[in-house]
């Protein structure tokens, strides 16, 4: 097991290096100059040159990459061009906001969707099944920002139960923190609920048709035992893959939701850094996202044998 983990982590190093090179090159190919964006339409040649020099943008691109890579290898991701903040703490701070919302949302969505999918498959072609499928399709089709705005309007403006903007860290004031993240979590849970329910249902339908389920029933096991003990584990394995993909995807930032709910998360940071051509921050964001993807996939691979005994590490 440990060998497998180390192997996988070692395999991620070339990926990270390649990504860093691509990110470095691509972002610099995009037209736009960070120094110019800082100075705006009032930029004269002298102040532009001085700002470029101060940001190290006057160096040849290869030199800039070597300097950056050397710093990254020693754990230093540099400083933001826009705000002069150290990039690594900035990323970790913003990632913690996104991660707290994403992890809770995906966990809640999975806890609701998997039993619902199983139940729907068990009652295939019944009214309940049609209702679950229709509901899941609806949730899958609703854009997250629209659902978010709808919830903001309902619970924030009309009912006035929850604040519509702002963020409070959990450590600062747990009650207030909760009030600020309830709506983003509910929005994300609902949006992901659709996809996971459909996958869980489809997997369960397939599993319930297999001979070993018929065999279990023939043995005289109760339906509950057949479903929870025999069908669930096997039906859950493909759903786990989907959950892993969703998690990796969302942990990379939920920029739209973070913008709607004014959350200081990683997605918003990434979008802002693109507009500001804040190269160090953007490079750091993408490295972090890649690393998180690798970790999530590794975690899914490690969990897979627990649900599908055919898989050995």
């Amino acid at each position: 097991m440990m060998r497998f983990i180390l192997q996988r982590l070692a395999m991620s190093l070339p990926t990270l290096l390649l990504i860093s090179l691509m990110v470095f090159a691509i972002i610099r190919m995009v037209p736009g100059d960070p120094a110019l964006l800082m100075l705006g339409d009032m930029a004269d040649a002298q102040s532009l040159a001085a700002t470029r020099e101060a940001l190290g943008l006057d160096q040849p691109m290869v030199m800039q990459f070597v300097i950056w890579l050397k710093a990254v290898l020693s754990g230093d991701l540099g400083f933001s061009i826009t705000t002069n903040q150290a990039v690594l703490p900035l990323l970790l701070d913003r990632f913690s906001v996104s991660a707290s919302i994403v992890l809770v949302s995906v966990l809640m969505a999975a806890l609701i969707a998997v039993p619902l999918g199983l139940l729907s498959a068990w009652k295939q072609n019944s009214g309940l099944d049609f209702g679950v499928v229709a509901g899941a399709t609806l949730l899958l089709s609703i854009p997250s920002f629209w659902l978010g705005l709808l919830l903001l309007y309902g619970f924030g403006i009309k009912l006035g139960w929850l604040p519509v903007v702002g963020y409070v860290a959990f450590g600062d004031n747990p009650w207030q923190a909760l009030s600020y993240i309830v709506l983003p979590i509910v929005t994300l849970t609902l949006v992901e609920l659709g996809a996971i329910t459909r996958m869980a249902r489809a997997s369960a339908v397939e599993v319930l048709r297999l001979e070993y389920i018929t065999h279990a029933r023939a043995k005289g096991l109760s339906e509950r035992a057949v479903l929870w003990r025999h069908a669930l584990r096997n039906a859950f394995a493909p759903t786990l893959t989907l959950i892993g993909l969703i998690l990796g995807n969302l942990l990379g930032g939920i920029a739209v939701l973070e913008t709607v709910f004014t959350l200081p998360g990683l997605g918003r940071l990434m979008v802002d850094s693109i507009y500001a051509r804040d190269y160090p921050v953007l490079q750091g964001c993408l490295l972090l996202v890649t690393f998180v993807y690798v970790l999530v996939n590794l975690l899914v691979d490690l969990l897979y044998p627990l649900f599908d005994p055919r898989v050995k590490l």
Binding site: V30, M38, L152, G160, G166, W175, S179, T259, T262, D272
Partner: protein, 518 residues
């Protein structure tokens, strides 16, 4: 009543209750500030915040003239080379230390050190014309600046918002050669800045206001009734509107005319607006093979009914202005009112004379500034009526800015940020294209007039120079100035005392909150 409902109501009251006192004003900012260092790593929001915390020797008044702020008075020597600032007595920094000429000297020496990377150093080190050759402090309340040559812009440059108003800060603002936080003399001091979330400003209890009866631009009596201001970073306009409607914020600044109309219909919400000195214009690349013919540029100008375009863009809040001299400026007189006028017949005649055969002309626009995009769309439609083929190309703002800086365009719809003196406005467009490709107007005579206007301090002589510049610009058509911008704010009705003015930045010390605020 249903218990669950009561519980939900009680819970929501706990969750959403503002833990703030009644005199806390909550304001939405569309983007975070870049830093708290005056005029260094800055943008318009950073300037707006800084100008609540620090004060300079002089500042802009409401009529865009310059008046004393930390200075009691300013005396200019007859040769125009020596500016003597007498400081007000009893002014304190936010750390309790008294303001003396030593701090003014320290601050200015730091600004003029290239290592500080002060945005405005070019206006004082000789590279932009004038050089401050000496700053001295003959006594604790007097500071003398000596220039190498007379300048009509010295005081105005000192007061510019983008220079942080050259705010005087206490040396403790810097620790171990690194900027820490501003310790200024403004009516507010910096509370907590949570990047990407909020900036808190706290009333400075030891603030010493000027003796005037009330505020006047960035100067005058700036005492405040607010205890605290919370500036919340809300980038999404829809979320900002929702925050205002739900009373999570009290004031939205920089609202679009469309949103203003929608919000004006909401009970308990009020709209205030005023014209600013920013300029929206259509720029020409006069070295373009097609557009180097002035007749074609004129034809485009005559094909546009700018009054109609501006009325539609601003919902009748601004009027068309063809001059670089802003409508709110005291130098905007009858001469500056004369533009091109709408004359499609003349436009067609000029096109025929120029031999224009409908070749496409690329007009660059962006969507970061919706009014700039809309201006391009209107211009395209109107020009088409006269047979001019404008093709819109929408660019991301960073890309457009680079094309502007390098002069790589045929036509461009562009927003110039506000310059509070006409000489600075003309300077933003006038220059040698070989050295500064972003300058759209390369006319040696105009450059000479502009240089004179920058040196001259006599208002009558400056007026004559601005008149000449305007008339020549109308003849050369290097750009079509469309209108000066509008600053629109939306606020709850308990927010009183907002005073919009030609600078599109809020002055929150003028605000007070009416009793009965929820």
């Amino acid at each position: 009543m249903n218990k669950a409902f009561l519980l939900a109501g009680g819970l929501s009251a706990v969750l959403t209750a503002n833990a703030w006192a009644d005199s806390t004003l909550t304001v939405a900012l569309n983007a975070d500030i870049r830093s708290t260092e005056p005029g260094v790593n800055r943008d318009t929001n950073s300037d707006a915040v800084i100008l609540h915390l620090t004060e300079g020797l002089v500042a802009f008044r409401e009529d865009a003239s310059v008046g004393p702020l930390l200075a009691k008075d300013v005396q200019v020597s007859e040769d125009g080379l020596r500016y003597t600032f007498h400081l007000r007595e009893g002014v304190k920094f936010q750390n309790g230390a008294p303001l003396t000429s030593a701090e003014v000297l320290w601050t200015w020496r730091r600004y003029l050190d290239p290592k500080t990377q002060w945005r405005c150093i070019g206006a004082f080190d000789g590279s932009g014309g004038t050089k401050v050759v000496d700053i001295s402090a003959p006594d604790p309340l007097t500071v003398v600046f000596t220039l190498d040559k007379p300048s009509g812009l010295f005081l105005a440059s000192t007061a510019l918002p983008e220079c942080g108003g050259s705010g005087i800060v206490h040396p403790d603002s810097v620790v171990a050669d690194a900027w820490k936080a501003p310790i200024g003399t403004g009516p507010f001091k910096l509370g907590e800045w949570k990047p990407a979330q909020s900036i808190e400003l706290l009333r400075f209890a030891g603030y010493t206001p000027r003796e005037e009866a009330g505020p006047d631009g960035y100067t005058g009596n700036k005492s405040t009734k607010l205890d605290r201001i919370k500036l919340m970073v809300i980038p999404d306009p829809a979320a900002a509107k929702a925050a205002l409607l739900s009373k999570n914020v009290d004031l939205l600044i920089d609202v679009t005319p469309l949103d203003a109309n929608e919000l004006a219909a909401v009970s308990g919400v009020k709209i205030s607006s005023s014209g600013t000195m920013s300029i929206s214009a259509l720029l020409f690349q006069t070295r373009d093979p097609l557009l180097k013919d002035v007749r074609l540029r004129e034809a485009i100008a005559y094909s546009l009914d700018t009054s109609q375009i501006v009325a539609a863009l601003t919902d009748n809040r601004s009027k068309a202005n063809a001059s670089m001299v802003a409508v709110g400026s005291k130098y905007h007189q009858a001469v500056e009112d004369k533009g091109y006028g709408y004359d499609p017949v003349k436009a067609r005649r000029l096109l025929a004379e120029a031999g224009y055969k409908g070749q496409p002309i690329k007009l660059l626009v962006n969507k970061r500034y919706p009014s700039i995009f809309d201006m391009g769309v209107f211009a395209q439609a109107m020009a088409k009526e006269s047979g001019i083929n404008l093709e819109l190309e929408t660019l991301e703002w960073g890309t457009q800015l680079e094309r502007y800086q390098t002069g790589n365009f045929q036509m461009m719809a562009f927003p110039y940020s506000e310059r509070l003196d006409p000489a600075l406005s003309f300077d933003s467009v006038t220059g040698d294209k070989d050295k500064e490709p972003r300058k759209v107007w390369d006319n040696p005579q105009a450059r000479q007039w502009l240089a004179e206007a920058m040196r001259e301090s006599d208002p009558a002589k400056r007026q004559a120079l601005f008149d000449q510049l305007h008339q020549q610009m109308i003849k050369d058509v290097p750009l079509i100035v469309m209108y000066n911008g509008n600053s629109i704010s939306a606020h709850r009705d308990y927010v009183q005392g907002l005073r919009p003015w030609p600078v599109s930045k809020p002055r929150l010390w003028t605000v007070n909150l009416q009793a009965g605020r929820p």
